[in-house]
């Protein structure tokens, strides 16, 4: 049941009516709806999820008792092992076999047939963050399991984020029964959901076959084609993933819950640090707060800072999937962060600091860093590191004239322009909204109609999926 599938739309409409009417029963309605939503997916292992939620909830309460603080570690280990078992067992076995020639599990054994439970990477991180937050005293443990279950399983963010924290969501759930959901909330939720639908159905899904065709060429790709593959994938993954987040936030608002933002026009970043403040924000802050700071952050000297950055980004890469390509992708981003940190020391020369303040410099860094990020996506999406290196080599030798004259280049330029437009739309949302309301209503109605028919036109069905579901 993916957000833009007809099944989900009907499911949500059926839920929304009693949800709006029966305010006191909202939490129970959500608890049941979340379980139903998760179980409806073929890879939705509800029992496993429920057991992990119950165990984590129990451990959190136990560790608040005197002399039981140590059970925190049981919670951490259990959650890490659960994720590691489902996500990394095959990876470990394959690598063990590759490096040592030793095959630990038979080809047809259970280990070889492990299926990744839907959303496990996301809910495990939420369990861990809850354990840590309670231990640190940042979050007060809720006494209600239903509330805890709704926090971790709330369907809009369950399977592809945003990765929420207890302190963000549980206080909102406390007030849910009294929350007045206005027509304005519904309208804004629908608006965000529609934006997400447009990004997913009209942009990402149309880019998907182009990306596939290019990457399928493998080593036959030319340098220019490699750039086109990387460019189109950049916009594909952004529009696919951010569309999911937009829809999730929109759905949350319609239910009186505000989820954290996950994207802020990431391709308009001028540095790797800025990029990670704009891309998959809730994962970045999770990595920052629980890994990078946990390792000491910048408090233990410069070398340790760089080491911590690398470790954090390598884990971020590995979180995306049990493949070396993801690890390398994370490593490259770690390296970029280290280089950026090093380059900041140049600011001690005032003229360099002054240049960096200039608008033109900002534009240049955005263009340059967009191309660097685009290149890193090659490691993210290529089937192997070898392939990514071949593409990288070819990209280095591509001639700019060929890139600009490639038939796909106008599409890429157009996608970048849409990205900028989205940034402006979000930045000036209030003003645009007020101006929009001054447009004569027949014209507004006609625009709604065109958008609706366009979505229906592109919503051909048969395949409803988001790329981040696999993580």
């Amino acid at each position: 049941m993916f957000f833009y599938s007809p099944n989900f739309i009907v499911f949500f409409l059926i839920l929304l009516v009693p949800y709006l009417l029966l305010k006191k029963q909202r939490l129970w309605l959500l608890a049941a709806a979340n379980a139903l939503f998760y179980a409806a997916h073929p890879e939705g292992y509800l029992v496993l999820f429920g057991v992990m939620a119950a165990v984590t909830f129990g451990l959190v309460h136990l560790m608040t008792l005197p002399r039981w603080r140590w059970v925190f570690w049981i919670g951490i280990v259990l959650n890490v092992l659960n994720l590691a078992f489902f996500k990394y067992t095959l990876f470990l076995l394959d690598n063990l076999k590759l490096w040592t020639g030793f095959q630990l599990a038979a080809a047809s054994s259970l280990a070889e047939s492990i299926v990744l439970p839907l959303g496990i990477s996301f809910y495990t991180f939420e369990f861990i963050s809850y354990l840590i937050d309670v231990r640190r005293g940042d979050s007060k443990p809720t006494r209600s399991f239903v509330k805890f279950w709704v926090f971790v399983s709330m369907f809009p963010h369950l399977i592809a984020g945003p990765i929420m924290r207890g302190e963000e969501l549980i206080p909102q759930l406390d007030k849910l029964a009294d929350k007045r959901i206005t027509w304005n909330d519904i309208r804004y939720g629908v608006y965000l959901f529609a934006i997400g639908m447009i990004k997913k159905v009209i942009i990402a899904d149309q880019l998907s076959p182009i990306v596939k065709e290019l990457f399928d060429k493998g080593s036959a790709l030319t340098g220019t084609e490699s750039w086109m593959a990387a460019y189109t994938f950049s916009f594909y993954i952004y529009n696919d993933f951010s569309a999911y987040t937009d829809m999730a936030i929109g759905l949350g608002i319609m239910m009186g819950v505000r989820f954290a933002d996950n994207f802020k026009s990431p391709y308009l970043s001028g540095s790797p640090t800025e990029f990670w403040r704009r891309w998959h924000i809730t994962l970045s802050r999770w990595i920052r707060d629980y890994i990078y700071i946990g390792l000491g952050g910048n408090r233990k000297g410069t070398l340790r800072l760089y080491f911590n950055l690398m470790i954090a980004m390598l884990i971020s890469g590995l979180w995306h999937g049990a493949m070396w390509t993801f690890v390398v992708w994370g490593g490259v981003h770690g390296l970029l962060q280290v280089i950026h940190r090093l380059s900041l020391s140049l600011n001690r020369w005032r003229w360099i600091a002054a240049i960096r303040e200039h608008g033109i410099y900002r534009i240049i860094t955005i263009v340059v860093f967009f191309h660097i990020v685009t290149w890193t996506w090659v490691f993210f999406h290529a089937p192997s590191i070898d392939m990514a290196l071949v593409m990288t080599w070819k990209m280095m030798h591509a001639h700019p004239d060929n890139i600009v004259s490639h038939p796909l280049f106008p599409l890429v330029a157009c996608l970048f322009a849409i990205h900028v437009l989205e940034f402006l739309l979000r930045k000036y949302e209030g003003q645009i909204g007020r101006a929009w309301r001054r447009v004569p209503f027949p014209l507004r109605s006609a625009v709604y109609l065109i958008v609706t028919l366009s979505l229906i036109y592109y919503l051909q069905g048969g395949k409803y999926e988001f790329i981040y579901f696999q993580f």
Binding site: T182, N184, I432, F441, L449, I456
Partner: protein, 339 residues
């Protein structure tokens, strides 16, 4: 725009409401005037849904009161039982016979097509229902655009399941959504300039849909025959909507006092061999079902042999006759079953 700001809520609601109301009015108008209008789909009358517009054109030009014999079936009977050939062989007026057969027709589509015109067939005396194994297989009915075209809420509820409830419910609310694959293909065809050059008002012929006459590529090979058989018998299910539709059709005709003949018209040896080899039990179940229905509603049931037909001369593919084959089959049907 921010959900948390509400300086003048009533003003905002009023503003939003007009845009929303305008949208709903426009959408409803489009639904009624365009997406629920068969003439839209008639622009591409070769499509599964568009063919109904061509059939309607043909019927509109017929004198319904003079029609005494109807043929109901799918593309097999559309190609094989030509009203002019039947009339000639039976020594009748051609306008006394109308062929309601539709391409890809399944029992539900055939029944709903018949019901659309039944009231106007005041002189109806006999009906030839051409059946085959495919027509009463209920598998995947919800994804059939012809089903979507006809089905109301009750029929949708009969085939609703955990996989398709969203499609069927939203499709019931909006034909724009329900038949999106049909009209979106029409738009694509328009931009590719592959829509039919002549409108349906110019191409229709008397007595029902035009027969297909061109040979299918590779249509006369064993591989093609096997692929067709596989398609017909996929997850073979003789319960539910399709069989019930056939029964409803027979019931209605029987209640009207119409003489009913149920026929299985000839298919090529290639096809028969593929079916016998791979799906003998399913075929037997189908034959048993049709026999029992025929008995229940006082209909005659016959399986026509293909002795007088040769693959290369009389078939355009493994289970459709060509014009030469149609002449033979029509003559034989007229001789044996048309009074």
């Amino acid at each position: 725009m921010n959900s948390s700001t509400s300086n003048s809520r009533s003003f905002r609601v009023r503003q939003w409401s007009w845009g929303l109301i305008g949208f709903l009015v426009l959408f409803a108008a489009l639904e009624i005037a365009v997406f629920r209008n068969p003439d839209l789909y008639g622009i591409e009358y070769r499509s599964a849904v568009g063919q109904f517009a061509e059939l309607d054109q043909s019927f509109r030009h017929a004198d319904a009161r003079r029609i005494t014999t109807i043929i109901l079936g799918d593309s097999q009977s559309k190609d094989a039982l030509r009203p002019n050939l039947l009339a000639e062989a039976a020594g009748r007026d051609a306008d006394s016979i109308f062929n309601f057969s539709i391409s890809g027709g399944k029992a539900y589509d055939i029944y709903r097509t018949y019901m659309q015109y039944a009231d106007r067939l005041t002189g109806l005396k006999e009906a030839i229902i051409v059946v085959n194994e495919h027509q009463i297989n209920t598998y995947n009915v919800a994804n059939d655009m012809k089903f979507r075209y006809f089905a109301g809420l009750r029929d949708r509820l009969r085939v609703l399941d955990a996989e398709n409830y969203g499609e069927l419910t939203l499709g019931w609310l909006s034909k724009a959504f329900d038949l999106r694959s049909v009209w979106s293909k029409m738009i694509q065809s328009y931009f590719k300039n592959t829509l039919p050059k002549r409108p349906v008002t110019e191409v229709w012929q008397p007595g029902g849909l035009r027969a297909e006459t061109q040979n299918e590529p590779e249509g006369l090979t064993a591989a093609y025959a096997e692929a067709r058989a596989d398609g017909w018998f996929a997850q073979y299910n003789l319960t539910g909507l399709q069989v019930e539709s056939l029964e409803a059709l027979l019931d209605d005709l029987h209640d009207r006092g119409v003489r009913i003949v149920i026929l299985q018209i000839p298919r090529s040896d290639l096809f028969e061999e593929a079916v016998i080899r791979k799906y003998p039990a399913e075929q037997q179940a189908y034959l048993d079902k049709i026999r029992s229905l025929a008995q229940q509603y006082g209909a005659e049931f016959a399986v026509m042999p293909n002795d007088s037909l040769s693959l290369k001369e009389h078939f355009r593919d493994a289970n459709h006759v060509n014009p030469a084959g149609a002449a033979i089959v029509s003559r034989e049907v007229a001789r044996q079953w048309l009074s």
